[in-house]
Symmetry: C2
Subunit: 315 residues, 2 copies
């Protein structure tokens, strides 16, 4: 006789929509209709809708033991408080876990979305079995999660792992929190597109920002476009600088890279490895692996669900 | 009846000399004559002399239970291997703990010197009782140690915590390990002196490098010298950039700063706090403290001894 594994619900709260899925092990076995954040006038009504979605998933699937929510912003994991969200207004200082508990009697955890992704890669994906991990996700924003000595590093206020906010230039661009030279402000989707548009313009080549998005830049570079190739090399140099810091501070054994920008594959990974390894001393590069993420878009749902199941003590 | 605490020997291996002391709790109760590294033709003969010093300290003090050695370079704490020392030739790939064990039957630990300092501050000094600590020491080099969730962070190859090698500029100065923009290459003693000499020269003021050392710069700044003040402010900006990375990655509750350069006091600490806090979002700055180190020159001896006693299970 086999027993089925406990099920969890993972919620991936994005900049424009909220996805809820039922997770079994490393798989999303059911996905509810997305909730569009614009359809809800305030945090409370969106939390109502999230809780209702969870309840309907529970009716369709027995054995759901916990729910985890990944949020795109600074989150206090311990208290379940959402400090603020970068791209969704009305979400400052929301005690999300407490609000959710009022509506739904499942054990609930609230975590930063990149941390949820990192958790999925650590427990079930590319870094499974590793004790010293730096995971990052490259998209509109740059986020990350850190595991050291087999512990998920959250820090004093449960907000650690914000790789995108680390600085690559002490006198650099001023970011969202007054910080200078934040990695995210150099290699986020929009920054790459703007850099590319500028580089093309200097050669008198007219491109829209849509034509300069990472996927288009990857295609152009693969076809031998020198400007697109240079953009990827430049992005790799900047990313390497951010990762140099992670390596000298944390001495990881593996770096996992996911998110849309990482789909450029070797256009990014090959120069990244070169620039990173050329800046590391022996014990920091010996045995170090840089690998693509195992999970794609579902990483956040899977990681949030897994985290909630572990915190509930059922896996 | 009181029992005396177990004693440890701490060895602080510096760029030019080696200091050995007997430690009781947070105090160095006896110090042996220094060994000058130049007096010894190779690592083996210096290890002989270190072991002989330890034996003579043991004869004079009963109850010594362990010996810890802090080394100025990359060290694998787990294996006791010294990868290399920045400023002492002949010390690449030395299995120091094993070599010491051949000469001396005390439990022995080998650690990076800045880690030993961080350990002393965490267990007995300015960060006592804290679980999330970044400690750094500012001198000729810049070193550090990290505690997160109550664990001393060593990483996959036991080499973590190298704050001085983290980058503050992705296209910056090329450092000892090929790394670009290393913090140490901007705010180390010699860098500060060179920056100051340059700034004075531009105003046609002739200064020797000796006149531009941190202690002299602190004195000049305290007397209102605008150039010296600007050097300290500039150093604070660069150091803040390195610490911004530590904060976003690790979310510490306390940052402890020691070493000779830190003796500039508020000339460094006041602008540092301003530049750092202005770059941190809520959960990263709420409750964060930046404090001077409790221990001075003896931090390395005390930390190495304490570490060895804890590893031996006697404290």
């Amino acid at each position: 006789m086999t027993t089925s594994p406990p099920l969890g619900i993972g919620i991936d709260f994005g900049g424009t929509s909220v996805k809820c899925g039922v997770v079994s092990g490393a798989e999303v076995i059911a996905l509810a209709d997305r909730l569009e954040t614009d359809d809800y006038p305030d945090a409370g009504s969106l939390i109502d809708a999230m809780a209702a979605t969870v309840e309907s998933l529970r009716k369709a699937h027995s054995g759901i033991a916990a729910v985890g929510i990944g949020m795109p912003g600074f989150v206090d994991f311990d208290s379940g408080l959402v400090h603020n969200l970068s791209n969704v207004p009305g979400w400052a200082g929301i005690p999300l876990r407490d609000e959710f508990a009022k509506r739904c009697d499942l054990p609930c955890q609230v975590e930063n979305d990149a941390n949820a992704m990192a958790y999925a890669e650590w427990k079930l994906g590319a870094a499974k079995g590793c004790s010293h991990v730096v995971a990052l996700t490259l998209g509109t924003g740059v986020g990350g999660g850190i595991i050291s000595h087999g512990i998920f590093i959250r820090g004093a206020k449960s907000a650690a792992g914000e790789l995108g906010q680390t600085s690559i230039h002490w006198e650099g661009r001023k970011g969202a929190y007054g910080n200078l030279g934040a990695l995210e402000d150099y290699i986020g989707n929009n920054e790459l597109a703007a850099e590319a548009q500028f580089a093309y313009a200097r050669r008198r080549i007219e491109k829209t920002l849509a034509e300069c998005q990472p996927a288009a830049l990857a295609e152009a570079a693969s076809a031998g476009d020198g400007i697109a190739l240079a953009i990827w090399e430049d992005a790799a140099r900047k990313l390497a600088s951010g990762l140099v810091d992670c390596c000298y501070l944390l001495n990881p054994e593996i770096i996992v890279i996911g998110g849309g920008v990482s789909q450029a594959g070797n256009l990014l990974f090959a120069p990244l490895e070169e620039f990173l390894f050329s800046q590391l001393s022996g014990p920091f590069k010996d045995g170090l692996r840089i690998v693509p993420a195992h999970f794609g878009n579902e990483a956040g749902i899977i990681g949030a669900a897994r985290l909630s199941l572990e915190e509930a003590g059922v896996v």
